[in-house]
Amino acid sequence: MNNASHLSLILDLSPSQWHLSAAPSNTHPLPFKTFLSHVLTFLNSHIAQMHENSLAVFGALPGKSIMLYSSSDVSGGPEVPADSNAYRPFKLMNSIVARNIEAELELLETMGDEPPVALVGALTKALCYINRITHTTSGSSAEDSAVAADPRILILSVSPDLSSSYIPIMNSIFSAQKNKIIIDVCKVYGADTVFLQQAAHLTGGSYIDLERRDALLQYLVMSFLPPPTMRQFIAVPKQDKVDFRAACFCHKNIVDIGFVCSVCLSIFCSPVPVCSTCRTKFPMKTLQRLNASRPAVPSANGSANGTPRPPSKPATPMSASLR
């Protein structure tokens, strides 16, 4: 129970999504500034919990990902003016994170078109960083190996799913699973993301979609502050329904019935004569059979749009009658 825990926080810093989030037309508008102050308070309480707790903050920006702060290499940063009213480690962390975000956002200003946020980059960096700190501590001595046990990753997401990143996200999830790293996801703004739901489900973390977005800090503290060892004693909210749909390789649509190549397991949204991944040719007979048996309705709305559908659909009359 007294183990220190490591938290890697991934901030989704998509300017356009944050602009939408702050719009007063929302029921609970949440501007980035308020968001950041909530998050910093949360991080402060993580550090305050135990002296050995470690922390790393990563930012997923449009087209790039960076490390904003890490508690292990703090020394290089520039001087922060002393403040008698603030606990110095808090002050130091807050100002470094805020300054780095500001610097990065300033760099963004020059870009015209906004590429999607580099969530995968941030996630893999967080994994590599956790790998590094667990490696270096476990080697040095038996006592130290307790430090930085229990690593976890918290993703504060505002952007929608990027279907082209399906494979790298799944690969990252499996490596997290292998290394027993929990991935928590808090969906601060926007529709549910199928991939992050799966990430939380597969690694044993929780996925929370905010109802009252102005109460972000309360959500963060109540559900994400307790370290994994503590969670077995408290009722952490879990998501109720997990959507196991995948993205097809041809159009990157998210499909619930797909056509799968037996050689390489590539998923296609419609029967294709040749597999685009491994160039295997499929028998004509299979194609005809599949085309004939293909359900008309799901394929029509499956390929109609490139964006994920809201996951409320799959309750069909059949299941309703079974209940």
Partner: protein, 436 residues
């Protein structure tokens, strides 16, 4: 600080020793060629050879440090990755395996601790767990051979729990009588005859006896296995028998004789990664259509939580809260992967498929950087874990290692440290720079 770093290198030194041990042991394995056998002949018997202490093979350098040995080991790992064939190999992803366990009285021998039988059961359980981890779409059945007949212990199943359950009751598997290879193989063969062509059919035999009592000609069984493209692999616990080797060689499987407990485990765990699909299958089917390949329709279900209102499932007709909904007909199913009982759709969860994608899209090997002259503005930190790079190049390095500890991705030209290079290629399978 000093003592810390000292114990660090010592730790890794031990690892090195173990690695070498393994390499030395692996020499005993000879997958379907006779080279290893000839080699073994030259060495006469193991007990006649000079006893080499594993710790003697690790050489300290002038400073008394093991760093050199450790780095050499890592370099070897890197080189192996670079040597991996760039051309695509087709691996069988949907596998079907029958685990054939010898339950004859020969398995009660105590040459492996505690007995051959107990050890086999223990390793079989570990094997099943690991096998399903790497082959999530595969199915395993268990057949035992005792008292001269083949005995079905576990039906072919895609659920590791079912298979483990069939192996869990030791008293039901108590060894007795003589084994019959032919009877057992025939039983395994008949339970795989209905499988579709795009999946693999494999038999793994753990054989402890030196005899087999067969009702007919076992070579007929061998011929029919070849015809049905069943791959037989065999791990012998006692000694090599001609028929065992022939079974493996003719069907393209692997044969090995376990020398000790560790070697036994290595031998059976070698069969876990999906095998490369045999060229024969491609040669006969190549051209316009390939019978070994097929397009399959699969459904990705929605998972219901434990808190959902209980409903009847179609597989057991029991009231349960949790379960999966078939995307086509909405029927409720207890477990995936399976075929929907109502509409017959193959239902898998997408993570099951995704688990094998890293075989398909591997990360390109990083290039070791040994000088910073070309780069206009070298980064100071590892792109992935932000660890600072060392400024001075270290002398005396093995081939394929960077003297600066920098490895560059050929696509995104970001630099990574040694640890991240290994971690990215072996675990994450996704480059943090290019995000794919």
């Amino acid at each position: 600080m000093d003592p810390g770093s000292d114990s660090d290198s010592l730790d890794e030194g031990v690892l090195t020793v173990r690695g070498r041990n393994k390499a030395a042991r692996a020499k005993g394995v000879d997958p379907h060629n006779d080279k290893g056998k000839a080699k073994a002949k030259e060495q006469a018997y193991a007990w006649e050879a000079n006893f080499t202490r594993s710790w003697d093979t690790v050489q300290e350098d002038e400073g008394g440090s093991l760093q050199g040995a450790v780095e050499e080991l890592m370099a070897r790992g890197r080189r192996r990755r670079l040597l991996a064939p760039a051309a695509a190999i087709r691996r069988t992803i949907i596998r079907h395996l029958i685990l054939l366990l010898d339950l004859s009285s020969a398995m009660m021998d105590r040459d492996m601790r505690p007995t051959r039988f107990d050890l086999t059961l223990e390793y079989a359980r570990e094997f099943i767990t690991e096998w399903f981890d790497q082959n999530p779409l595969g199915q395993v059945g268990v057949v035992g051979m005792r008292g001269g007949i083949g005995e079905r212990i576990g039906e072919m199943s895609g659920n590791p729990q079912d298979v483990l359950k069939s192996l869990s009751e030791r008293h039901k598997l108590e060894p007795a009588g003589e084994p019959s290879l032919q009877n057992a193989i025939e039983m395994a063969r008949s339970s795989m005859s209905h499988l579709p062509t795009h999946s693999s059919r494999e038999i793994l035999i753990v054989f402890g006896s030196l005899t087999t009592v067969d009702p007919g000609n076992i070579y007929d069984t061998l011929q029919s296995c070849i015809k049905e493209k069943i791959r037989i692999s065999l791990v012998a616990l006692a000694a090599e028998m001609k028929i065992c080797r022939e079974l493996c060689d003719k069907t393209g499987g692997q044969f090995g004789v376990a020398m000790n407990e560790g070697h036994f485990k290595d031998l059976i765990f070698e069969l876990i990664p999906p095998p490369a699909q045999r060229a024969v299958a491609r040669a006969t089917g190549g051209g316009t259509t390939n019978p070994a390949a097929d397009l399959m329709m699969m459904g990705f279900p929605t998972r219901l939580p434990d808190t959902a209102p209980p409903a009847l499932c179609v597989c057991h007709a029991e009231l349960r809260p949790a379960g999966f909904l078939c995307p086509r007909c909405g029927a409720k199913i207890c477990d995936v992967p399976t075929d929907c009982d109502v509409c017959g759709l193959m239902i898998v969860s997408s993570p099951h498929l995704a688990r094998s994608y890293h075989h398909l899209f591997p990360v390109k090997p990083y290039i070791p950087i040994s000088s910073l002259d070309g780069a206009p503005k070298p980064t100071k930190h590892c792109h992935a874990c932000s660890q600072p790079f060392r400024a001075q190049a270290t002398a005396s390095l093995a081939d394929g290692m960077s003297s600066l500890g920098r490895y560059r991705c050929p696509d995104c030209s970001n630099d990574f440290c040694t640890d991240c290079d290994v971690f990215v290629h072996d675990v994450v399978h996704c480059c943090p720079g290019c995000e794919k």
